[in-house]
């Protein structure tokens, strides 16, 4: 049986490659909004993610003995992706990520330059300017962006190593709102495309992957689930299922029914 179908063919060969680093998991999770870092670490393990986003903030000097993220999620085994949350200008972003580079010693970063707190949409003009500044400083920039294919192309052209369009507003859990644009971005982009923000439940992640995205980044969908660890596991399966379905190539949609059992031989 040379042409035997291996039913549980491992997907190990289907690696995600970002800026020269390779990952088996296509799920990236945030580390905000969890009950505590222990729950966060348990969710990370259940999710199978190999990359976590992290923020850079002042050390609490009145209580420096507070739990530290690094004591629960080891930066030696999980890739920390420092973000620029809270930055509204390119200068803020550069300052924050220089500190992140010094604290962690790595240059793979997530750029997000937001605008109005009501919708948290990225300020794309400033995001593009900040990306150029960071790339000049040697950072590998994974960029959070709107689902506008024109800006996505510009961000790729200036050298961003991953394009990360929103599926829906940050923390909204509304799912992919504009699959047409996400697909356009996927089709035109040579670097990984990762839907960042807007996923609410497992099917949303699967939809993003079925559109051909290279990965999904989420925080609130897991952290604010009633059982975050279980939702993390669900997301792991959803991302794998969506990816496999995309690679498998779905059947054509038809307007009418088509019986699965043969019509010939009916008694």
């Amino acid at each position: 049986m040379d042409d035997a179908i291996t039913p549980n063919q491992p997907i190990a060969a289907d690696l995600l490659s970002i800026a020269g680093r390779t990952f088996r998991s296509r799920l990236i999770i945030g580390t905000g909004k969890y009950k505590n870092y222990a729950q966060n670490a348990a969710a990370l393990q259940a999710s199978g993610a190999e990359i976590v986003t992290v923020a850079v903030r002042r050390v609490n000097l009145t209580d420096p003995g507070q739990p530290r993220l690094v004591d629960f999620i080891d930066p030696a085994t999980t890739t920390y992706l420092p973000n620029t949350a809270g930055c509204f200008t390119g200068e803020d972003a550069v300052r924050t990520l220089r500190l992140a580079r010094e604290a962690g010693g790595w240059d793979l970063v997530k750029l997000e330059v937001l605008s109005d707190p009501k919708h948290l949409y990225p300020d794309m003009a400033e995001t593009l300017r900040a990306a150029e500044m960071l790339i000049r400083e040697g950072f590998q920039v994974m960029v959070y962006c709107s689902d506008d294919p024109v800006y996505a192309k510009r961000l790729e052209e200036v050298g961003c190593c991953a394009i990360m369009p929103l599926g829906a507003p940050i923390g909204s859990g509304l799912g992919v709102q504009n699959p047409v644009n996400i697909r356009l971005i996927v089709e035109q982009t040579q670097v990984p495309v990762i839907v960042d923000a807007g996923v609410g439940t497992a099917s949303d992640a699967a939809v993003a992957m079925e559109l051909g995205c290279d990965g999904v980044l989420m925080n609130t969908a897991i952290a604010e689930a009633k059982d975050p660890v279980r939702m993390a596991r669900a997301m792991r399966h959803a991302v794998i299922a969506g990816r496999e379905a995309y690679l498998a190539g779905r059947m054509a949609k038809k307007r009418y029914a088509d019986p699965s059992s043969p019509l010939a031989g009916l008694i």
């Binding site: 905000g32 850079v56 000097l61 992140a100 010094e102």
Partner: protein, 66 residues
């Protein structure tokens, strides 16, 4: 002498090194980054960096975020 650390004014001994200062406030230097007057201080320079009057320090670390 007075320095500003993470937005708060503190009295410290003149000539205190950054290493000694971090130890005095209970901060593990291994996972933080320090900015002094808007310039990053490389970790390898902490021993050789003496604080000066009116220095502005920012001491940051990684925390949970999305």
């Amino acid at each position: 002498m007075r320095v500003t650390v993470n937005g708060e004014t503190r009295d410290v001994a003149a000539g205190l090194t950054l290493t000694a200062f971090l130890a005095s406030i209970g901060v593990d230097a291994s996972n933080v980054a320090v900015e002094r007057n808007r310039e990053i201080v490389p970790r390898s320079d902490y021993d050789a960096t003496a604080l000066r009057e009116a220095d502005q320090l920012e001491i940051v670390q990684f925390v949970g975020g999305g």
